[in-house]
């Protein structure tokens, strides 16, 4: 039916945008650019959630949309900017794996998730199968980012991208309850991450808590 067609196209479009934003995250070389890209992704996610709320006429999804709009697209980026200023973190992205390879890996992950999801969701609503594939790729890409980027900030962003993917999947799962609770719970996680970075003075990366002492503690060295 027409409406279904349109709703499908729009949802697909927005989902694709989220994924593109994800890939772009891998591509960025400068921290601020990363943050902005993330904000953009959050924006797209909010749009997706809003659209789903409209399509499935599930009002509670508007809450999710609101959360990601306000919290992720605005508060978090600002907070990150502030953190970078406050802790004087390097502005450039340290990569553990060259951008090019990372991009290729990202594409490979997208391929993998499509390969996995599309055949198995044959009888699911077309709406879900597309965005599910997209969501899964976003999740995997987020994880990839956490691994291949050294800065604390980029890793946090990676984590949040991963979580965007999850929210995307959640909202696009037709009539799934508890989405709000889940997104709230995740926002708490994210908040704690940022808090932790600030509180524990994690300047460079997750691995060492303090750059000042070289030898880091990893549990009973003998």
């Amino acid at each position: 039916m027409g409406a279904g067609q349109i709703s499908y196209d729009v949802a697909h479009l927005i989902g694709a945008t989220v994924l593109m934003a994800g890939l772009q995250l891998l591509y960025q070389r400068r921290l601020f650019a990363v943050i902005n890209t993330f904000a953009f992704q959050a924006l797209a996610l909010a749009a997706a959630a809003g659209w789903q709320a409209h399509v499935q006429n599930a009002p509670h999804l508007y809450v999710t949309a609101g959360i990601s709009l306000v919290f992720k697209a605005m508060i978090v980026p600002v907070a990150l900017h502030w953190l970078i200023e406050k802790l004087g973190i390097h502005r450039s992205v340290e990569t553990a794996m060259s951008i090019g390879w990372t991009m290729m890996a990202g594409v490979a992950l997208v391929a993998l998730s499509i390969l996995l999801v599309l055949p198995v969701t044959a009888n699911a609503a077309a709406l879900t199968r597309e965005s599910l594939a997209l969501a899964m790729s976003v999740v995997l890409i987020g994880l990839l980012m956490m691994i291949t980027r050294r800065n604390a900030v980029t890793q946090v962003v990676g984590f949040m991208a991963l979580e965007n993917g999850l929210i995307l999947a959640a909202v696009s799962a037709k009539g799934m309850p508890l989405v709000v609770e889940i997104s709230v719970a995740f926002s708490v996680l994210v908040a704690m991450t940022l808090f932790g970075i600030f509180f524990f003075r994690i300047r460079e990366r997750f691995d060492t808590l303090d750059i000042n002492d070289v030898e880091t503690y990893r549990g009973d060295r003998q």
């Binding site: 390969l115 995997l140 990839l144 956490m146 691994i147 050294r150 890793q155 691995d207 990893r218 060295r221």
Partner: protein, 671 residues
């Protein structure tokens, strides 16, 4: 009924020892109680043997695995071993009454001693795999704690840890064996296992793991390494039980699986067991020959005797598989007889060693000497024990070796060429082991009890009189050595009743010559009669005395030793254990233990003494255990690096796990 009572008494005793362990009287009380309880069990076992074949119905208690309770049963085999175990147990307990005062850490012994006895008896009574293993591990556990009783010495701790790990290895092996026999159904009762039909490979594995599991506990080469470490570390009356009895419980497990549960074991396994047994016998006694520590020497000789018994069992399997039940019965009777004997004289010898240690505080042969004059009781008992373990007629050790040899001499009759040629070799090994055992104990006894004391402690041994309880136990055991040797036929008849269900043939070991004549198979086969030997021997002895005294004088004059005219009173000039075994070390040591002698001569004019140092390495350690240890350490080092990665590293591991699994799913889902 009696059994249940005695067992529960044992448990209560250990509780008592825990509660009231601070008072010295408690320990003697507990040991006395143990004596009473094991006496009860001994009686139970004997009466059951007296009733004759046919096991009592299995008793079921609502314990253990919920869907199959706990089964207990007493049949002839277990009754026999019960007699073996509790005979030694009674002795050790009574001995303990007097001995426990000499222990440094008695509070770490008494609570576990009853549990140890309990465990061993429970193994014999168990009628399902679960209870069997529980009791089995229980036995190991209790003895481990007693090995650790004198835990201040690092050597003992080392011994203990190796012991427990080897015990766990054995348990895992037995678990495999039972698991395979029980099948996926999970009915672990022995009754069910007897019915089990096994395919070729599982059947093979069952026997293999049974041999490994029971063998590691019995101390068969090359799984014996823990034994000479652990047995000496425990207090002597416990060592006596561990060496004299616990190894027998292990053999019981072996017999139970190979002859009862599994049923038809192919002859190749018989051959394998004979070779293992032969190797254990020879290597064990060789090890023993070169020991300086009295208790370790005894422990190694346990390895030898277990080997001898296992030769008998292996032969039994071979004959049984070849359809020769009579000979199989003969071999088994020999093996079982040796098990009985060894439990008696090894217990006796360990108890004697305990008496020596508590009198002199010295375990090294090189610090002993001249004890027969100072400890006549212990000395005499030990002499009989040594003669018995050296397989000298008319004592018990000889009878069992004679039976095994008789069976062995029939071995070449087996249809397989491997046996035709193998059996003589095993026979040679057995003979060699026997002769070396005699040498070993001439050395041990001569150095420890004869000659002149090599240390002040040994010279003052008579200042610490041995308590009566210890003396009487040793005397009783010595008497038993003679008895079991003098009336072999009575014993063999009882044993053949035990063997009957295994070979399916009632078999009179005193075939047609009648009571005192031990003549297996047929009277023309060759026969032996300890009874007659004793009678005639004493007669001749009397005649000799009368002749010598009648024809000559009876005057005796005490004087200094002549010693070819070299008058000296430096005890150090005596032969020591080292020098005694030196010729044999030259003969065997160089090849078996890669022994190397190095002599450091001082420069001319220097006053320092010349030194002869001997280095021997234990091939089993060097070629089998060290590599394993090295491998484990190597891998552990590599793996340990994973403790020190960065969070990103860990995330990477997570990510790759995820992707890997996704790929697996993707691959498996291809239509």
């Amino acid at each position: 009924m009696l059994i249940v009572a005695s067992l529960s008494v044992l448990v209560l005793l250990s509780a008592l020892a825990v509660v009231a362990g601070s008072r010295e009287i408690t320990h003697r009380l507990v040991h006395a109680g143990c004596a009473a309880a094991s006496l009860g069990l001994l009686v139970a076992g004997l009466t059951h043997l007296g009733i004759g074949p046919g096991g009592s119905p299995s008793i079921v208690l609502p314990l253990g695995l919920p869907w199959m309770a706990a089964h207990f049963r007493l049949d002839n085999l277990s009754a026999l071993f019960m007699v073996v175990v509790d005979l030694a147990a009674v002795a050790a307990s009574i001995y303990g009454i007097g001995y426990c005062r000499h222990l440094p850490e008695v509070r770490r012994v008494t609570p576990f001693f009853p549990l140890f006895l309990f465990g061993m008896n429970a193994v014999l009574l168990a009628d399902d795999a679960f209870m069997f293993l529980v009791a089995w591990e229980f036995m190991s556990l209790a003895s481990w704690l007693m090995v650790l009783s004198d835990h201040k010495s690092a050597e003992n701790r080392h011994a203990a840890v190796i012991y427990l790990i080897m015990a766990a290895f054995g348990t895992f092996c037995l678990l495999t064996s039972f698991g395979l026999m029980a099948g996926a159904g999970g009915t672990y009762t022995f009754a069910a296992m007897r019915q089990a039909e096994l395919a070729t490979i599982p059947a093979f594995l069952v026997v293999l793991t049974a041999v490994l599991g029971a063998g590691s506990k019995a101390g068969l080469v090359p799984l014996h390494v823990w034994l000479p470490l652990a047995h000496p570390a425990a207090p002597s009356h416990v060592s006596a039980l561990m060496s004299g009895v616990m190894t027998k419980v292990a053999l019981y497990g072996l017999i139970r699986i190979l002859f009862d549960l599994h049923g038809d074991v192919p002859w190749e396994w018989g051959a394998a067991l004979m070779v293992i047994g032969g190797a254990s016998a020879v290597l064990g006694v060789l090890y023993a020959l070169f020991q300086d520590d009295l208790k370790r020497l005894l422990a190694y000789s346990t390895v030898e005797n277990v080997g001898v018994a296992v030769i008998g069992l292996g032969l039994g399997i071979a004959f049984k598989d070849a359809g020769e039940p009579a000979l199989a019965a003969l071999a088994l009777v020999g093996g079982l007889y040796h098990i009985v004997n060894h439990s008696v004289f090894k217990t006796l010898l360990f108890l004697a060693a305990g008496a020596v240690i508590s009198a002199t505080g010295e375990r090294r042969l090189s610090g002993l000497g001249g004890l027969l004059n100072r400890m006549p009781w212990t000395g005499t008992a030990a002499l009989i024990g040594a003669a018995a373990i050296s397989a000298l007629p008319p004592l018990n050790g000889f009878v069992s070796e004679w039976l095994i040899l008789q069976a062995l001499f029939k071995g070449p009759g087996l249809p397989h060429w491997a046996m035709k040629f193998g059996v003589p070799v095993v026979g040679a090994m057995l003979a060699l082991a026997g002769a070396l055992a005699a040498t070993c104990f001439v050395r041990a006894y001569g150095i420890a009890f004869l000659g002149r004391p090599r240390s002040l402690a040994a010279a003052r041994a008579d200042l610490h009189p041995t308590p009566a309880s210890m003396r009487w136990t040793m005397a009783a055991l010595a008497l038993l050595c003679i008895l079991l040797g003098a009336i072999p036929v009575t014993v063999t008849d009882a044993l053949s009743a035990v063997v009957q269900p295994m070979t399916g043939l009632h078999f009179a070991v005193s075939a047609d010559l009648g009571w005192p004549w031990l003549s297996p198979v047929s009277s023309t086969r060759g026969s032996y009669s300890g009874t007659m030997l004793v009678m005639v021997g004493t007669a001749l002895f009397a005649i000799a005395v009368v002749l010598a005294h009648g024809l000559g004088t009876r005057r005796v004059r005490r004087a200094d030793a002549w010693d070819c005219g070299h008058r000296e009173d430096i005890p150090e000039t005596q032969y020591t254990g080292q020098s005694f075994s030196q010729p044999l070390r030259r003969v065997f040591g160089t090849s078996v233990f890669l022994a190397r002698e190095t002599v450091e001569m001082p420069e001319p004019g220097e006053r320092s003494p010349a030194r002869l140092s001997v280095r021997m390495i234990d091939p089993v350690w060097v070629w089998l255990y060290d590599p394993i240890a090295r491998a484990v350490n190597f891998i552990a080092d590599r793996v340990n690096r994973m403790q020190f990665l960065t969070v990103r590293g860990y995330l990477l591991m997570m990510f790759s796990t995820l992707v890997f699994m996704l790929l697996v799913v993707a691959w498996r889902q291809q239509p």
